[in-house]
Every structure is written in structure tokens, then in C-alpha cells.
Subunit: 216 residues, 2 copies
Amino acid sequence: MGEEVQTEALIKEKARALFFKKGFLDATTQEIADEAGVNRALIHYYFRSREHMLEMLLDETLLEKKERVRNILTSSLPFRMKIARFIDTLVDYGLTYPYLDNFIISEMARRPDKVKLFCSQDKIKSSDLIREQLEEEIAGGKIAPISPENFMVNLSALCNYPLLAKVVLQTIHGMTDVAYRKFLVERKQVIYRTIFNEEMPELTAINEFQKTTRKN
Amino acid sequence: MGEEVQTEALIKEKARALFFKKGFLDATTQEIADEAGVNRALIHYYFRSREHMLEMLLDETLLEKKERVRNILTSSLPFRMKIARFIDTLVDYGLTYPYLDNFIISEMARRPDKVKLFCSQDKIKSSDLIREQLEEEIAGGKIAPISPENFMVNLSALCNYPLLAKVVLQTIHGMTDVAYRKFLVERKQVIYRTIFNEEMPELTAINEFQKTTRKN
DNA sequence: TTTGCGTTTAACAATTTTGTTAAACAAAAA
DNA sequence: TTTTTGTTTAACAAAATTGTTAAACGCAAA
């Protein structure tokens, strides 16, 4: 017996890195095989076809990301802490896979039929998950009136756009990869301030809060 | 003699539509030819190669967009009117070419070498064009402190993201193309409110202002 | 040892896509 | 009319890419 699980996992990992980390949106099966140091036919042995493999990768990765977001938005945290967490998670996720959204978007444009399949999986829109809390904030005069849809689009835009436009922004401002990472991390607070016009609470404080309320 | 100019322009126009409007990011030369109703070899006759054609299209379109943005940011308008114009223009441009940024981003990821060429064309960063006015606003306490870079990234993100994520957002919220256009147009005001926490001035008012000041 | 099973490979076939070329064509100039 | 110039086409060649298959390989059980 060879090393089935390891090789299959290795190929997946390398393909993910190629697509989502390095941004080779249209890497060929040969390039994936090279990256994993295996024969090209193995791609077909494990994943049947290139198409099939892509679907698998997208499915898995999207599901994981959605899970994370969902967990945050359905948590019992107060609104502003929830959003702070959301920003933190989304930006960090982007730092791990700088080209993920890029890839998804290109792929979706390529296969509009598949989009419905992917999107229909989540029954509840994330905008619905914050509707009530957002309405409270607005009613309390703590934030200017805005629809949940626009609020979520704003939030996603501010978090995701700098990653989508990574190459362009990085070149314009002459930033190295390290400098760009720093820029993104510091932007977390900028985003929070843009949305709420106040300083973002420390994440450690949020964690503490969560521990305390869980005890009670 | 045939009809050189018309055919060449036709091919360009159809290619632009295919890439930037319909979102066929990797349309083949055959598909472009079909769209324009001409023989595939004509693409090579006029544009030498597919690569060369893409470079040409990107070059032209990017230049035009940059020109528009530059004109707004270097105008003599007061800061907030300037930004209102910026938002209006960027969103409208996006409505004309919903997949333009998408295409640029994919293409840039594909050819990181070309990026420098495109970006180096504009000697002045747009963030530098608003630096002084932004500092005034901040000094006057009219807006929370923020770097020009982050301000511009925020602005671009809020304007461009909904177009980049068009397919996804449209599917999630079950919107037709018409409904999505409406959503985007209405978002202009949402974006302005998100940035400045006040209502956006009417564009007609801005035009009036510009006329008046020009007279003096 | 040899048999069996899952894994891996090399070689092949089919398809798609790009780029080239020579010839047909249309209209203006000689 | 004939020539010339520029435009358009069809047919061909070359390259890249995907998917298939049969054989080799390695390890564990018989």
C-alpha cells in the first residue's frame, strides 16, 4: 500500500496554495502536479477531473469560511463586539488566503450556474443575522440609519477589497509583502472606526467578556 | 479599400463588452471574433496577438478611468463635493463595465510584471491628491483621524466591491440585474453617509456650485 | 514466496487554442 | 481596364492542455 491519504491531502494543500495563496488563478493540472511533486495523472486518479477538483476545493473552503462567520454572527456577544470579531476574522482569513475571494469571484463569473448551488447552501443571509441588533443600535441613535444589507456590504467591502486589489494597491504604494500585511492588520481598527466612529475594543477584552458571560 | 477603422473599432468594442460587461474573463479569440461577426484571423491582423490586444484594451480603459478620477480629485471643488463626485463617477463607471475591475485584478495576478508598467504611468498617487484637504477636515474636527491611504482605500472599497462581488451578492439576495443596478445607484448615498455621517449633497447642487465659482 | 490491492507512473489520444500564410476580394488610383 | 492598396477569409501548423490506459511498483496478507 502506498500513502493514499497523505498524497491526496498533499495535492489538495498544494493546489489550495497555488490558487488561494499565490494567486495562479488558472494553474494547469501540470502545474499543480509539479507543485505537489507528483505525476499529473494522480490529479485525475484522486479527483477525476480538474473541474471536479475545483468544485471540491471551493466547496470545502467556502464552507469553512461561512461556518466561522456564522459562528460569530450567531454568538451572544453585544453588537459592537460581534462586529469587531467579524472584522478580525475576515481580515485574518484574507491574510491566510490572499487570493481566495479573487478566485471565487473569477470562478463564479465563469460558471454562473454553479453560483446558485454554492449560495443556496446557506439558508440564512448574514444580513438577517444582524438585523435585530442593528435596528436596536439605530433606534438608540448610536449609528446612522442603514439597511442590514448595506451594512453587511459595507463591512465585507472594507475587509475584503484590500485583498482583492492586493497586487494593484501594493504596487501603487510600493509595499513589500510584509509591509502590506502590516497595513492590513492595522486596517482592522480603521474599519471599525469607519463603521462606528469610535475606537475598536481590544480583542482580549472581548474574549474576557465572553468567558465572563459564559460562566453566568 | 474595405472598412478598416470600423472593423477594428468594432472588434475592440465587442471584446470590451465580452471582457468588461459580460464577464467572460477568458474569452478565446474565436469567441471575440464570433461576437464581432468576423473571421478569427482578423484579430491577429489588427492586434498581432491575443496578448497584445489585451494589453491595448487594458491600457486604454485604465487610462480613461484614471483621467476621470484625476480630473475630479484635482478640481477646485470643496472636499465633500469632490468626494461626492468621486463616488458618483466610480459607481457609474462600474455600472457601465461591471466586470472591469474584476478583469484587471485577474489579469494583474496573472502578469505581476505588467502591473508595474500600468501603475507607474500615474506619477501621483490619488491619496496624495486629497491629503491636504483631508488634513483640514481632520484638523477642523469634521472627520475622525485617518490616513489618506486608508481613506482612499475605504472609498474605493465601498464603491468597487459590490461590483467585484456582483454575481455572489446578486445571487445571495436574489436580485435581478435591474434590481442590482438600482441597489448600486442607491448605495451612492449610503457610501457618502458611511464616510461623512451626513446626507450627500445633490449632484445638481455641485454642478451649480462649480458654475458659480468658475464665473468669479 | 507469491498473490492481491491500492498507488504511481509513462505513454498515448483527443481536443482546444493560438498563430501563420497564401489566396480571394473590394474599392480607389493609374 | 488594370493596378495597387488594404481588408477578409479559409486552411494549415504548432503548441498546450486535458483525460485515458496499461503497465510498473510497493507493501501486506496468504
